[in-house]
Amino acid sequence: MLRIDALQAIYPTLERCVVVTIMGAVSAELQSLGHRASFFYLLHSMGLASSMGLGIALARPELPVVVLDGDGSILMNLGALTTMARYRPRNLVHVVFDNESLLSVGGFPTATATGSDIAGIAAAAGIPRTSTARTIAQFTALFDESLRANELTTLVAKVEAKGPPVYLTDLPMLENRFQFQRHLRSLRPSQE
């Protein structure tokens, strides 16, 4: 499975979600499909996209939040899985694209290349729903199911170590940040 195809498959569904992505290929590929005000790309701070998603999900329980993470990133912040599991927000779907590689920085293998199992680690951390997808059809079905489940999910998508030719896009980081914040504000429930 190619990550860009997986992203393409869920892109229409992401329209009704708040999305936080990691740096590198995930950010560039999602932007290549079309930026939306509800997408935030964390272009540094490897490991913290999951924590940011948790912060948004806890602060705004009415919003469906999707984190698009990677194996290299979540391996840097495995404790985050235990924190997510502790508070298990129902509105958070944590997708991990696992290409068994630090693709953006030269393609060196991560520990998932030698058998570490992210879905297994997530389950052992206490995440109530975990699964691993190996095909687009499987991934799409599991993603839709996760959004409907209304329960914290970590969904691992095994993808090939292939990315876009360039990672730099024409969206400045701070423009993305302020647009995303304004967008979340505009979604405030009317009673507030």
């Binding site: 913290l48 940011m52 948004i56 701070l174 995303f180």
Partner: protein, 170 residues
């Protein structure tokens, strides 16, 4: 345990007066009462962390989502969070209200805490993070309020150092 309940209450009340609705924390001796107060407060979302740097991500998410937050940590937790502070909070202009228990200063009896004391303020200065000490009960409320005001107007991290004279009664 001679951690000051009274001064912990002052700090907690100041955070509430600032509209803080989410606190991330990792336990440390001087913070026990503050964490318990957050735990017991139905209006407060307490997020117990595995490692302090997670708190930078959680506060960033909370800020963009419209919630005011604070981070409770030991100075060693601050030192462990430096990359997140630089490559998330500074890079993306995220306000952080960090309350850091300042271990390893004069009076410290635990040998294992003594190196962190010497490094804390120099690292804060190296990162250009505005910071003030909280060592006197009468300063607590207004210094916390002013720290949060600057964090929100500058969209940058600020730090308050919770000192032995405030936190510890012997």
């Amino acid at each position: 345990m001679p951690v000051s309940v009274k001064n912990s209450q002052l700090i907690y009340a100041a955070l509430k007066a600032c509209g803080v609705s989410l606190i991330s924390a990792l336990p440390e001796t001087w913070l026990v009462h503050l964490i318990q107060m957050a735990e017991d407060d139905p209006e407060m979302m307490l997020v117990r962390l595995a490692k302090e740097e997670e708190g930078v991500g959680i506060s960033a998410g909370a800020h963009l989502a419209g919630a005011k937050s604070a981070m409770l940590m030991q100075n060693h937790g601050f030192l462990a969070s430096v990359n997140g502070i630089v490559s998330l909070a500074r890079l993306y202009r995220i306000p952080l209200l960090m309350l850091i228990s300042y271990r390893g200063e004069f009076g410290e009896r635990d040998p294992w805490q003594t190196e962190g004391g010497g490094a804390t303020e120099s690292v804060l200065r190296a990162l250009s993070i505005p910071h003030e000490r909280l060592d006197e009960p009468t300063h607590v409320a207004h210094r916390i309020k002013k720290a949060q005001t600057l964090a929100e107007s500058s969209l940058k991290p600020v730090a308050l150092l919770l000192c032995r004279d405030l936190m510890w009664e012997e």
